[in-house]
C-alpha cells in the first residue's frame, strides 16, 4: 500500500497518523507539504491529519480546503483513490466538498479532549469492515469544532445512502444525548461519501492503536481494526 499524509501549516497529528499507518502496514507513509502541487504517483490512500490548519482562524478547514494540494486531492478522490480525514482533516474534506455537511463549534463551546464511545453504523466499507454493525468502540476526541451539521435534505440523503460511519453513543451503545460530546446532529461522528471511498471523522482512531498508551486508565486499541482494514483493502 502506498499512502501519503498531507501536511498543512498548523497540522499537528500527522506523525500520530503516520505511526498508526506504519504499525498496520510496516511502511512509513510519505508526508506531503501543502504547497506541493503534486501528490506522489500511484497512491492508494491519502490521509488529511488532525490539527489547526491556518490556526483555525477562519472557519475550521476553510483555508486548507483551498490550498494548492487540495485540487490534486479532489482529482484523485474523484478517480476513486481512498481518502481519510481525521478531525481537522474531516473539516477540510467537508469544506472542500468531498464530504457532505459541516462542522460547527461544540455545543458546550469548549475544547473537549477525552475518550468517547462510538457505535459503528456501517461496517460494509473498506474502512470499517473489521468492525461489525452496532459494535461499540472507544476513540479519543480532541476538538473545539466537532458539532456535525447537515440540513434536513442532506441528512436524509446521508442516512438513506448508509453514509454514516460512526455515531457517538453511551458506553452501553445508546445513541442518545448523554453519549454525544459536541451536539452533532443524529450523533454523527463520521461520514462517508456516496461511494464509500472517502471517510471523515472527528474522533482520533490513530490515537487508539498503540499498546503502550492503552490500558485501564489510558486509551484503547479500537483504532487498530480500522487501519488493518485499510491496509488489507489497499494491499492488493
Amino acid at each position: 500500500m502506498k499512502a501519503a499524509i498531507v501536511v498543512f501549516p498548523g497540522s499537528n497529528r500527522e506523525n500520530d497518523a503516520a505511526d498508526a499507518l506504519e504499525r498496520a502496514s510496516g511502511k512509513r507513509p510519505a508526508l506531503v507539504w501543502h504547497k506541493d502541487t503534486e501528490l506522489p504517483s500511484k497512491l492508494d490512500l491519502i490521509l488529511l491529519p488532525g490539527g489547526f490548519s491556518y490556526g483555525d482562524y477562519l472557519r475550521c478547514g476553510a483555508m486548507a480546503a483551498r490550498s494548492p494540494i487540495m485540487r490534486e486531492v479532489i482529482a484523485r478522490a474523484d478517480k476513486g483513490t481512498a481518502v481519510v480525514g481525521v478531525c481537522n482533516g474531516f473539516q477540510i474534506l467537508c469544506e472542500a466538498g468531498l464530504l457532505p455537511g459541516v462542522l460547527l463549534s461544540n455545543a458546550g463551546l469548549k475544547f473537549i479532549c477525552r475518550d468517547v464511545h462510538l457505535k459503528v453504523a456501517n461496517s460494509q466499507t473498506m474502512f470499517t469492515n473489521r468492525y461489525s454493525n452496532g459494535e461499540v468502540i472507544r476513540f479519543p476526541v480532541a476538538h473545539h469544532d466537532g458539532n456535525y451539521f447537515a440540513d434536513a435534505d442532506t441528512l436524509k440523503r446521508i442516512e438513506d445512502g448508509d453514509q454514516v460511519a460512526f455515531r457517538y453513543c453511551t458506553p452501553e451503545g445508546e445513541t442518545v444525548a448523554a453519549g454525544n460530546p459536541n451536539g452533532s446532529i443524529a450523533n454523527i461522528a463520521g461520514v462517508f461519501n456516496a461511494t464509500k471511498t472517502v471517510m471523515g471523522l472527528m474522533p482520533h482512531p490513530e490515537n487508539a492503536t498503540d499498546p503502550a498508551t492503552a490500558g485501564p486508565l489510558g486509551g484503547s486499541l479500537d483504532g487498530k481494526p480500522m487501519f488493518d482494514a485499510i491496509v488489507d483493502a489497499l494491499a492488493k
Binding site: P9, G10, N12, R13, N15, D16, D19, A20, W33, K35, G50, G51, F52, Y54, G55, D56, Y57, K110, F111, I112, C113, R114, P140, A142, H144, H204, E206, N207, D210, A212, T213, P216, L217, G218, G219
Partner: protein
C-alpha cells in the same frame, strides 16, 4: 552608591520607568551622561525584577544545580539533563501571573507560548506542557472568570501548537483574590550533541530576526510584572501581549528545521523585554557588541519608535546569530513557513549595544556594565515565626464518612477533569499516563524509556513554615515521580511571592530556598532552571508564598510503571511510611474547623529517600499492582482517589480510626496494593521502611472501616467530580 553624573531636574521619580532613583544614578554613571529615552527604557526593563532577579539572585545562587546528569543548569533559556542514549531532556517553568490577572486568556496563552520558546530555542522538540494555577476564593466575584479565561487560554495555545498538556495542579485560596498565579512548564527532548545556546560569537556575524512581526503590544510588560497591583491594575491591559499559536507552531517547525542544518551560531527567543533582552543577553554572554538597524525589523504597524521596538513584547519572535554564508538557508526555510526572516544587524567587537533608526543613533550603551552592574540587593528579611503543632486530641471529632465526603468535594481536592478535558493531552500519541494521576508519563518514540513529570507546591505549608514548606514542595514532586515508578532527576522552580521589599515576605523567600536546598541536596535532585515572580500583591495583600516545583524523572522501561487505580479484588493494601496523625496546617483542619494554623508536617528527608527508593524498587520489579503517594487529605483521601480511579472498593482495618490518623498529612507515605503482601512486608522490614497491611481491595463500590463506617464510592465520585463543573456553570 555615589552619583558622579549630575541629574537633570526634568526626570522626576515618576519618569524613571520603574527604576529606583539610585538605580537611575547608576545608569547615569554607566553612561557617563543621562540616558536617552530609549536607553532609559532599556535600563528599566533590563534591571526590572523580572529580568534581573535583583532581589532573589543572592539566594538563588545557594541552590544545588549540579549532578552527573546535568548538562546545563540555570542561566540559559532552560535546563538540560542527560537521559541516556545520547538524548537530553530540556525543561523549564515560568510564570505569567500579572498578565493573566489583567487579561486571563491572553495572559495565560502567551505564558504557554513563552515557555515553549524557551525550550525549543535550545533545540528541543517540545513533548509536553504542564501548568500550576492558583486562584482566589471560589466565592470571590472575579475567580470564576479568571478560571474560565486562564484555562481557555492555556488550551487555546497548547492545543493549537500540538504539544500535549499532560499535567498540572489548581488550587484556590483567598490570598490569590487579587493575584492569580499561572505557572507554565514545558518539557522537550533533543539530541545531546545538538543543543543550542544563546552566547553570541564571531564579530561581523549577522543578527537575524525571525517569526512574527513587531507591534506595540506588551511594551513594558517586564516592568509591569515587577510591580504590585492596586485598584487600577486593569488599566495596565496594554502591557499584556497577544499570542498567535498558529505562528508559534510554524516557528517551532521552522526553527527545528534550521537547527538540523549547521547554520546557527546562537539563538534566543524574544521573551520578556523582547528585542532588548535577547540582543543584550546574547552579545553579553559572548563578550561582544551588537549593532541593530531597527528600520529592518519586520513591523506590524508604521511609525514605531526605537523605544517601542526595543521594548515591545510581541510574541513568537526569535533572534538568531547565523553563519554569514548560511543566510540563504535560513531564508528558504522561513519562506516555506511564510514567516519573516530579516537581517537586522551584526555583531561587533565594541561591547556596545548600538540602536539605529532612520539613520539616527537612538541608543549607544555599554553591554557588560549594564549586565554585570545590574543591581543586586541583599534585602532585609525577617524569619517567619514558628508555629506550634496542633494537638489533635483537643479537636472536635467528626464522622470519617462525612469528612471524606466533604474533603473529596472541596475546591482544593475536587476533580480537575473540567480543566484537563479542555487541554489536548493526547496529541503526538505518546501520553502513557494521562492527567489525574500522581505524575504524567510521556513516551519517547523509538525508545524503551519514558519521562515522568509533575508540578507541585503546598503554599499553606510554606506560609506556616517556609523552610519546611520549601522542602515539602520539592519532596512532593519527588514522591509523585516515584509513585509512577520514575527515578526523579531534576527540578525547575517557579518562586511566586509578594513584595520582597517587605522583610516578612523576603523571610518567606529565604526560608523556602533554604528548605528547597536541603531537599534537593538530600535527594540528589538539583535545580536546572527556574523563574521568580515577586510583587504578587494587591493593595498590600500578598499571596501565600508559592514555590512551584516542576519535577522530571525517567523510567528506564516505560512498561514498568505504576498508577493509582485499585486493580484486583483481594489485593492487599499496604501503607508505606510512618503515620502519627499530623493535623497542623492540614486540609482537614481548614475544611472541617475553618482553621489555617499549626506547624505543617515535618519533612524527614532520610525517610523520604528510604521509603521512596523502596517503593520505586517494588514498582520496577513489578511487585505492586497500584501505587499512590499520600498528600492533601491524608490516608483516607488517598484511598478514595485510588478507589475512584480503579472503580473498586476497599475493606480497611487500619490500626487507628481517629480523624488525625485517617486525615493527617504525615509525609513520606505511599499506599501500594499487592498480591504478595508477605514478600513485600518482609522486604520493607529488611529495608527498615515502615509498612503494614491495612486492608484489601474489594469489588464492592464501598470503603469500609472495621469499626463499622461504610462510605459509598459512587457518593464520593459525585462529590469529587461534581464540584468544579457545578461551580463553573454558575453565573456570578
Amino acid at each position: 552608591m555615589k552619583t558622579k553624573t549630575k541629574r537633570k531636574s526634568w526626570r522626576k521619580p515618576n519618569d524613571l520607568m520603574g527604576l529606583a532613583p539610585a538605580e537611575y544614578d547608576l545608569a547615569c554613571d554607566i553612561m557617563g551622561r543621562e540616558p536617552t529615552y530609549t536607553e532609559l527604557g532599556i535600563f528599566s526593563v533590563m534591571w526590572s525584577e523580572h529580568c534581573s532577579y535583583k532581589s532573589s539572585k543572592k539566594w538563588l545562587k545557594t541552590l544545588p544545580t549540579k549532578a552527573r546528569w546535568v548538562i546545563c543548569g540555570p542561566g540559559e533559556n532552560a535546563g538540560v539533563i542527560d537521559i541516556g542514549d545520547g538524548d537530553a531532556c530540556i525543561f523549564k517553568i515560568e510564570s505569567h501571573n500579572h498578565p493573566s490577572y489583567i487579561e486571563p486568556y491572553q495572559g495565560a496563552a502567551t505564558g504557554v507560548g513563552g515557555i515553549l520558546r524557551d525550550v525549543f530555542t535550545m533545540g528541543a522538540r517540545p513533548i509536553a506542557n504542564l501548568n500550576a494555577l492558583r486562584f482566589g476564593d471560589p466565592s470571590h466575584p472575579k475567580t470564576r472568570r479568571l478560571v474560565a479565561g486562564v484555562v481557555a487560554g492555556i488550551g487555546g495555545y497548547g492545543n493549537c501548537v500540538g504539544v500535549p498538556t499532560v499535567g498540572g495542579e489548581t488550587n484556590f485560596h483567598a490570598s490569590y483574590n487579587g493575584n492569580c498565579l499561572v505557572n507554565a512548564m514545558t518539557v522537550g527532548v533533543a539530541r545531546k550533541d545538538k543543543i543550542f545556546y544563546s552566547a553570541a560569537a564571531g564579530a561581523g556575524n549577522p543578527v537575524v530576526y525571525v517569526g512574527a512581526k513587531t507591534g506595540r503590544d506588551g511594551i513594558h510588560g517586564a516592568t509591569m510584572a515587577s510591580a504590585e497591583f492596586d485598584d487600577n491594575s486593569e488599566e495596565k491591559r496594554p502591557t499584556v501581549q497577544v499570542g498567535d499559536p498558529f505562528v508559534e507552531k510554524l516557528l517551532i517547525e521552522a526553527c527545528l528545521e534550521l537547527m538540523a542544518t549547521d547554520a546557527i551560531v546562537a539563538i534566543q527567543d524574544m521573551g520578556a523585554a523582547g528585542l532588548t533582552s535577547s540582543s543584550v543577553e546574547m552579545a553579553g554572554k559572548g563578550g561582544l557588541g551588537i549593532d541593530l538597524d531597527l528600520d529592518n525589523v519586520p513591523a506590524r504597524e508604521t511609525g514605531m519608535t526605537s523605544y517601542e521596538m526595543m521594548l515591545s513584547e510581541s510574541q513568537e519572535r526569535m533572534l538568531i546569530i547565523l553563519k554569514p554564508d548560511r543566510i540563504k538557508v535560513a531564508e528558504k526555510i522561513f519562506a516555506k513557513y511564510e514567516l519573516d526572516c530579516a537581517t537586522i544587524g551584526h555583531l561587533t567587537k565594541t561591547g556596545r549595544l548600538v540602536v539605529r533608526k532612520n539613520g539616527k543613533v537612538d541608543a549607544d550603551m555599554p553591554i557588560a556594565p549594564m549586565v554585570q552592574a545590574s543591581p543586586e540587593y541583599s534585602r532585609p528579611w525577617k524569619p517567619t515565626k514558628k508555629r506550634k503543632p496542633v494537638d489533635a486530641a483537643k479537636l472536635p471529632k467528626h464522622d470519617p464518612a462525612r469528612v471524606l465526603q466533604e474533603l473529596m468535594g472541596c475546591p482544593d481536592l475536587a476533580s480537575r477533569r473540567w480543566i484537563w478535558e479542555q487541554y489536548d493531552h493526547l496529541v503526538r500519541g505518546h501520553t502513557l499516563q494521562r492527567p489525574g494521576g500522581d505524575a504524567a508519563i510521556v513516551g519517547l518514540p523509538g525508545r524503551r524509556k519514558a519521562l515522568a513529570m509533575c508540578v507541585d507546591s503546598t503554599p499553606r505549608y510554606v506560609h506556616a513554615d517556609p523552610e519546611t514548606g520549601g522542602a515539602q514542595a520539592v519532596v512532593e514532586t519527588w514522591r509523585n515521580l516515584t509513585a509512577v515508578g520514575a527515578k526523579p532527576l531534576a527540578i525547575t522552580d517557579n518562586m511566586n511571592f509578594g513584595n520582597p521589599q517587605r522583610p516578612e515576605i523576603m523571610g518567606q523567600f529565604v526560608g523556602a530556598i533554604k528548605g528547597m536546598r536541603k531537599a534537593c541536596k538530600a535527594l540528589s535532585y538539583p535545580v536546572v532552571s527556574g523563574n521568580v515572580s515577586l510583587y504578587n500583591e494587591t493593595n498590600g495583600q500578598a499571596i501565600l508564598p508559592t514555590p512551584t516545583i516542576g519535577g522530571v524523572g525517567i523510567l528506564k522501561d516505560a512498561s514498568k510503571s505504576a498508577n493509582l487505580a485499585l486493580k484486583d479484588a483481594g489485593d492487599t493494601i499496604v501503607l508505606v511510611g510512618a503515620t502519627k496523625g499530623w493535623l497542623g496546617s492540614s486540609l482537614y483542619l481548614r475544611e472541617m474547623e475553618g482553621r489555617e494554623e499549626g506547624a505543617p508536617p515535618p519533612v524527614d528527608l532520610k525517610a523520604e529517600k528510604r521509603n521512596g527508593d523502596f517503593v520505586r524498587g517494588l514498582i520496577v520489579k513489578g511487585q505492586v499492582n497500584s501505587c499512590h503517594d499520600l498528600a492533601d487529605g491524608g490516608l483516607l483521601v488517598g484511598l478514595a482517589e485510588m478507589a475512584l480511579a480503579g472503580r473498586k472498593g476497599a475493606e480497611l482495618s487500619p490500626p487507628r480510626t481517629d480523624n488525625a490518623y485517617l486525615f493527617g498529612e504525615d509525609q513520606a507515605r505511599y499506599v501500594v496494593t499487592t498480591k504478595n503482601a508477605k514478600r513485600l512486608l518482609a522486604a520493607a522490614k529488611k529495608a527498615k521502611v515502615p509498612a503494614m497491611a491495612i486492608g484489601t481491595v474489594s469489588g464492592h463500590l464501598e470503603l469500609t472501616l472495621h469499626d463499622g463506617v461504610r462510605i459509598s464510592v459512587d457518593g464520593l465520585r459525585k462529590a469529587h467530580e461534581g464540584w468544579l463543573p457545578a461551580y463553573m456553570s454558575q453565573k456570578n
